[in-house]
Amino acid sequence: MRLLKNPNFDFMSKKLFALTISGLIGLAGIVSLIFHGGPKLSIDFKGGTFVAVQFTEDINVEEVRSKMGDVNIDGQAFDFSREEVKHFGNQTAVSVRVPHIESSPSNLAQKIAVHLYNAFSNKVPENMIDFILSKGMVGPKIGSELSGKAIMAIFSALGLILLYISIRFEFKFALGAIAALSHDVLITLGMFSLLSYEISLPIIAAFLTIVGYSLNDTIVIFDRIRENLKSSKRDSYTDIVNKSINQSLSRTIITSLTTFVVVFILWFFGGEVINTFAFAMIVGVIVGTYSSIYIASPLVIFLHENAKK
């Protein structure tokens, strides 16, 4: 069976249209990022406390929020009603996130859980152990270290990849690949900001995987361009790029589709913990495929034509 028989689309003629769309989506993301003062970082990076609890029946988030307005810990009153309170996976579970506070009582996560347990005593499991699904605390020290590590990870990965592609291809290809993956990460970041999803530690892993995937896709096309440059020297650069994209189109579609299906299922069935991870991957697979054709390739053409002048 074959999806496409000798496809011959003129991809590059529509590059301005595609760039406009990219630009608009990117801009929306950037505006959202600026508006929110940067990406929404999880307690992994900021430091803070997290609790997820399981009730025995459906629970109203607003009710939980109002109960969080008056948390009394040994005579010290806290108002957490403006912190993040939302459903966790389904309607019967709730998660609460509180950023790090000065003079935070020790073991705050447990104390918040106990407060909620007592506040909704008719809707909780008999045993406290069954009530707490998950909880956590990240000290500000750890948070700032992790931020540093994450930034180091992203930049050293980019540097190494740039180096590898420069060696195996040409420097302009490296720039094209980096532009494509920056585009992908920026769009995904923008999407996260628009949907007010948090950037947590696993999301950094998802981002680096998107980087890997985007590169993988870009390089398959670049590889064709490299090959066609050697064999058909008379064609124009744009034609060669177009031809290469068309030749690898079947592969692009099949791989993207299967990967998309796989991450989509992960998103759909994977459970609460892995949900945003899978979401990042879904966005990444879509933009990663698109950017190989419409970001990486046009930039390589542009750099080539500029170099000739």
């Binding site: 069976m1 399981q54 810990i73 040994d74 005579g75 020790s106 073991n107 996560a109 447990q110 152990i129 069954d130 707490i132 998950s134 909880k135 956590g136 000290g139 500000p140 750890i142 700032s144 270290e145 540093g148 590590k149 994450a150 990870a153 050293s156 990965a157 190494l160 990849i161 590898y164 195996r168 530690l201 696993p202 892993a205 680096l208 890997g212 995937y213 590169l215 993988n216 390089i219 398959v220 670049f222 590889d223 064709r224 090959e227 690898s248 592969r251 099949i254 299967t258 990967t259 796989v262 299922i265 992960l266 759909f268 069935f269 459970g271 913990v273 892995i274 991870f277 899978a278 991957m281």
Partner: protein, 633 residues
């Protein structure tokens, strides 16, 4: 050709056998029932299987992950001799610096501040060398030694607590990472780890001294303007609380009534700012007959008041210190109402005896016929030195109260009835026998040389872990089946070969995880799914190339050769970049991220091997078969 293929099949077969052999313990462990596990555990065979099986991460199994940090400033301050105000002010400054820039290294700050203030280190640490540099390096050694001892003691405590597979490791110079997989009661484990296990025995100040001091503190605080705001804050809280407690606030004066005019009934109904203003300290307290009670809602205010420097100064001048009871209890007040309160004790500021003398600690239920009958207690026995001191102390203080203090919290303060010789004593005041057992554990394992602080904690409840395993496995299986079916549908025989390679690929990645004793985490499962994608991609690239070659009119054999050769560079280049990303993740990541990176790394390597080597071999075998005419792709 047949001869050339045989060694390749042999290699593939060997790798497959190795893979299944490595995975065997995992499969075996999965299929064991709890009963069978128990019998194996008794025979001592379970551990062997467990170490060879793939470990599930905390996010899958449930459990807790804790990062503890040794409080270096306190450790170094504690070992100083001739402590004075100058030294402690330097430590206060260092602590302030650390709270502003948490990444700073303690010893860098220490030497910096020592230099700035021209502090003579040899004055405080003459045991550690003569020059400043010598002392600093010995103190550094001391800190390292301390963390190793902390590690050992925590190891000891956890072993006695009984967790299946604890992991305790040192990270950097002042941190310890503890992972307790499958631990059910994270609170117990937490307090077990956090406890310094510093056991001290203090004499309790007598009632007259206490009364006098309270009046002095009231007078001091009256002058403090910031207290007025505390009073206001409390006032607003008081409105919400019921009247009974407001009435009781005044009855405190009965305890200290000897000096102040007795408050009559009419007055006691009104608790307002006047009383707070007049007696900002004692009006927050309650009388508990012989001791003082702090209502739970006033604890924070009382702590803040006690911390005030002028109060601390006053306390120091009479050589005393306030300590709280270790838990709040319901007390019935004179008017019959019940209030939850912490006990507050005024103690000597020098301990009579410390926990170093404890030789053995056992949790028990109190014997019949004693006040603690049926209550959980901890029996202590002391070494000869401790027993001697204990006998002298109890002998010369008959009639007074002695407070048994654990980690700066008073567990009990019994009256000394007679001289206790032989060094035996007991501690009561535990909520349940588990708590008594845990305290006995920490006392046996010994006190930590320095206090530790929990700087990161992640607890995954068992139900969430199980849920994650279920949904994770489910999504992997569904994704896998869809991909497998699609490949057969789209590429026919070639697709079947690719499917075989894919399953083989997953088996091998899991086998490697098992033999590396790596941990499978939730992101690890995601990594496995990604590996599926990568493996399929490599095959798709090859198959599309073969189709192109076939379209050019080449024979099946030539098309396969050409397709593989041309796809090779593409696959290598495309996978190398992801490999780089995986390596970087592994280098910088911890815990779950590292799990993801490990799976991704091996997944890519193996998928390259299966796509390039394994499927190729099978294709060649197909083409070489007699009667082969057309490639089904």
């Amino acid at each position: 050709m047949q001869n050339k293929l045989t060694p390749r099949f042999l290699l593939i077969g060997l790798v497959l056998v190795w893979g299944i052999w490595s995975l065997w313990p995992t499969i075996k462990l999965q299929n064991l029932s709890d009963d069978e596990k128990n019998t194996l555990r008794i025979e001592g065979k379970l551990e062997e299987i467990e170490t060879k099986a793939i470990k599930q991460g905390l996010d899958l199994k449930g459990g807790m992950y804790i990062v503890l940090e040794v409080d270096l400033p306190t450790l170094i301050e504690n070992i100083a001799i001739n402590k004075d105000g100058k030294l402690s002010s330097i430590f206060d400054k260092i602590r302030a610096d650390i709270s502003i820039s948490p990444e700073a290294d303690f010893f860098d700050l220490f030497s910096e501040h020592v230099e700035k203030n021209q502090l003579k280190l040899s004055r405080y640490y003459y045991d550690y060398g003569s020059s400043s540099d010598d002392i600093l390096s010995s103190l550094n050694d001391e800190a390292e030694d301390a963390i190793n001892r902390v590690l050992e003691i925590l190891q000891n405590r956890i072993d006695q607590f009984g967790v299946a597979e604890p992991t305790i490791q040192k990270q950097g110079s002042q941190r310890i990472i503890v992972e307790l997989a499958g631990v059910q009661n994270s609170e117990r484990a937490r307090s077990l780890l956090e406890s310094t296990a510093l056991l001290e025995f203090y004499l309790v100040k007598d009632v007259t001294t206490t009364n006098e001091l309270m009046i002095k503190i009231d007078q001091i605080l009256k002058k403090d303007k910031s207290v007025a705001s505390v009073a206001k804050e409390l006032k607003s809280q008081e409105i919400e609380s019921d009247d009974a407690s407001s009435e009781q606030a005044v009855s405190v004066s009965e305890l200290f009534g000897g000096v102040e005019s007795t408050t009559d009934e009419a007055d006691s109904a009104i608790v307002d700012e006047d009383i707070f203003a007049e007696r900002p300290f004692s009006s927050l307290l309650r009388s508990l007959g012989n001791s003082i009670g702090v209502p739970e809602k006033n604890t924070f205010a009382i702590k803040k008041l006690i911390e005030k420097p002028e109060v601390q100064e006053r306390l120091a001048s009479v050589g005393s210190n306030f300590l709280f009871g270790h838990k709040a209890e319901d007390y019935v007040l004179t008017d019959g109402s019940v209030e939850r309160m912490y006990a507050l004790y005024l103690l000597d500021d020098q301990a009579e005896l410390t926990g170093g003398v404890v030789e053995e600690a056992k949790a028990n239920l109190g014997p019949q016929g004693t006040t603690s009958a049926g209550q959980p207690i901890v029996n202590l026995s002391m070494n000869s030195d401790g027993a001697r001191k204990w006998a002298i102390m109890t002998g010369s203080n008959v009639g007074r109260q002695v407070a048994i203090v654990l980690d700066k919290k008073v567990h009990m303060a019994p009256n000394i009835r007679e001289k206790i010789s032989g060094g035996g004593t007991l501690i009561e005041g535990f909520a349940n026998i588990d708590e008594a057992k845990d305290i006995a554990i920490v006392l046996r394992a010994g006190a930590l040389p320095a206090p530790v602080e929990i700087i990161e904690e992640r607890v995954i409840g068992p139900s969430l872990g199980a849920e994650s395993v279920k949904s994770g496995t489910l999504s992997v299986l569904i994704g896998l089946v869809i991909v497998l079916v699609f490949m057969i549908f789209y590429y026919r025989t070639a697709g079947t070969i690719a499917d075989f390679a894919l399953v083989w690929n997953i088996v091998l990645v899991l086998a490697i995880l098992a033999s590396l004793q790596a941990t499978l985490t939730l992101p690890g499962i995601a990594g496995l799914i990604l590996t599926v994608g990568m493996s399929i991609d490599a095959n798709v690239i090859i198959f599309e190339r073969i189709r192109e070659e076939l379209d050019k009119g080449k024979t099946a054999k030539a098309a396969i050769d050409g397709g593989y050769n041309r796809a090779l560079t593409t696959i290598i280049d495309a996978n190398m970049t992801t490999l780089i990303a995986a390596l970087v993740l592994w280098q910088f990541g911890t815990g779950p991220i590292r799990g993801f990176a490990t799976v991704l790394f091996w997944g890519i390597l193996i998928s390259m091997f299966t796509a390039i080597f394994v499927t190729r071999t099978i294709f060649n075998a197909f083409v070489n078969r007699k009667g082969f005419s057309k490639l089904s792709i």
